[in-house]
Symmetry: C2
Subunit: 214 residues, 2 copies
DNA sequence: ACCCTTGGGAAGTGCCACTATCCAAGCATC
DNA sequence: GATGCTTGGATAGTGGCACTTCCCAAGGGT
């Protein structure tokens, strides 16, 4: 198919597709002659993934490029590849390691991982952005003066571990290795907004149950 | 305290504070004379909340204003107030109701709420942005061709309901009514990045457990 | 009286995700 | 084979957002 058809079938304007091509989010089509290029179903699939990452996952364009680079990198093992792709995802600003709240949050998270027995995660601690995000989130909460029981973190962590098990079980059902990594990334990216939406819905539901609409 | 001190204690530049004042994210200080205004601890607390919403919660400035407007609106009941505040939070673009994937997702979510027995959430269906976000997330996943068992949604929803119960239990521990709403909002906003970070950490952990670092 | 500080407002900055315009090279039709 | 529409690639421009810089008049300390 040509650019115009790719645009039609994806619902993305040709101008935007050209932009994505320029930014390296899509591989160029097969050049037929100086003015025509041919795209296939794979391009369409990739384009939809990109669009979804940007619009639903709110992933910046530069980050999408990084994530895809890792997804397509056959030289990496699965965990590393998934990790690499996830690590490229949007991050909170670099925490100020001098800050007392940050240091306390570090200790708190380390303790949490210890209690959970997440030894693998602990091994990745120094480099995982997820770890950093968690530290920043906890430090922020503490800085605002909320007195948050570490038990609560533990409970949340156990819930999210259950979610992760569901995620990976789902990925297991997918046959090819390449597809597995893509599915894992898609899962990581799209399950998050879903969990968020479910979380808010559940809050509304539970709040209404407890307090009615008073 | 004066603007300079407010800036110092919050770590936010005076220029930015002035910007927030202009945007209505902070109430003006008590004017002492033409060149001096006095701010109090409440301003500091509010400023930290605003900063955290913007930096950690990635909430747009205009949205922060909306959320705070609801938090401060004493005329509303708690559920409505919390709901109103949460409804102002970042939303996915309006779904195209004509689209087949969207319509299917609607049916899927309705079925899900039915099965869960979330009758309150069902009552809010037509207006809740969380519901809309969920529909868009599911439709996107389906459009990408993932064959996702509705059972899985159910499992995720139950997990998030447990999280919501934890959230509200935590809110219960806070004394004043006004503080409860603020805590609920803070919880909704800050628990989300935390859950997200925990989710990614858990994925890394679980992936490493299953596949090692192959 | 002098000068530094203060708060307020207007205008500017940098980044980002597009989007509009231009252009030369096809292809289609007459 | 001339004409005119379409195509893909390149370049520059747009609009929104979160600040940030600049300027100013009015205080207040010494």
């Amino acid at each position: 198919m040509r650019l115009a058809e790719l645009s039609e079938r994806s619902g993305v304007s040709t101008a935007t597709i050209k932009y994505y091509l320029r930014e390296g989010l899509l591989t160029p089509g097969r050049q037929i002659n100086a003015t025509t290029a041919e795209y296939d179903e794979e391009h369409l699939r990739r384009l939809r993934l990109v669009r979804a990452m940007i619009q639903v996952g709110r992933v910046p364009v530069a980050t999408v490029r990084e994530v895809l680079r890792h997804v397509d990198d056959d030289s990496l093992g699965r965990t590393i590849r998934l990790g690499a792709a996830l690590w490229a995802l949007p991050q909170v600003p670099e925490p100020d390691e001098e800050d007392e709240h940050i240091r306390a949050a570090h200790r708190e998270v380390d303790q949490l991982l210890e209690t959970l027995g997440w030894s693998n995660a602990r091994a990745l601690v120094t480099i995982s952005p997820a770890y950093r995000s968690l530290v920043v989130a906890i430090a922020t909460f503490r800085r605002l003066g909320y007195d948050w029981d570490p038990e609560l973190n533990l409970a949340y962590a156990r819930l999210m571990h259950q979610a992760a098990v569901l995620d990976l079980d789902f990925v297991e059902t997918h046959p090819s290795e390449a597809e597995k990594v893509e599915t894992a990334v898609a899962g990581a990216i799209f399950v998050e907004p879903m969990l968020q939406a479910l979380h808010r819905l559940a809050q509304e539901e539970e709040s209404a149950r407890r307090y009615g609409f008073e």
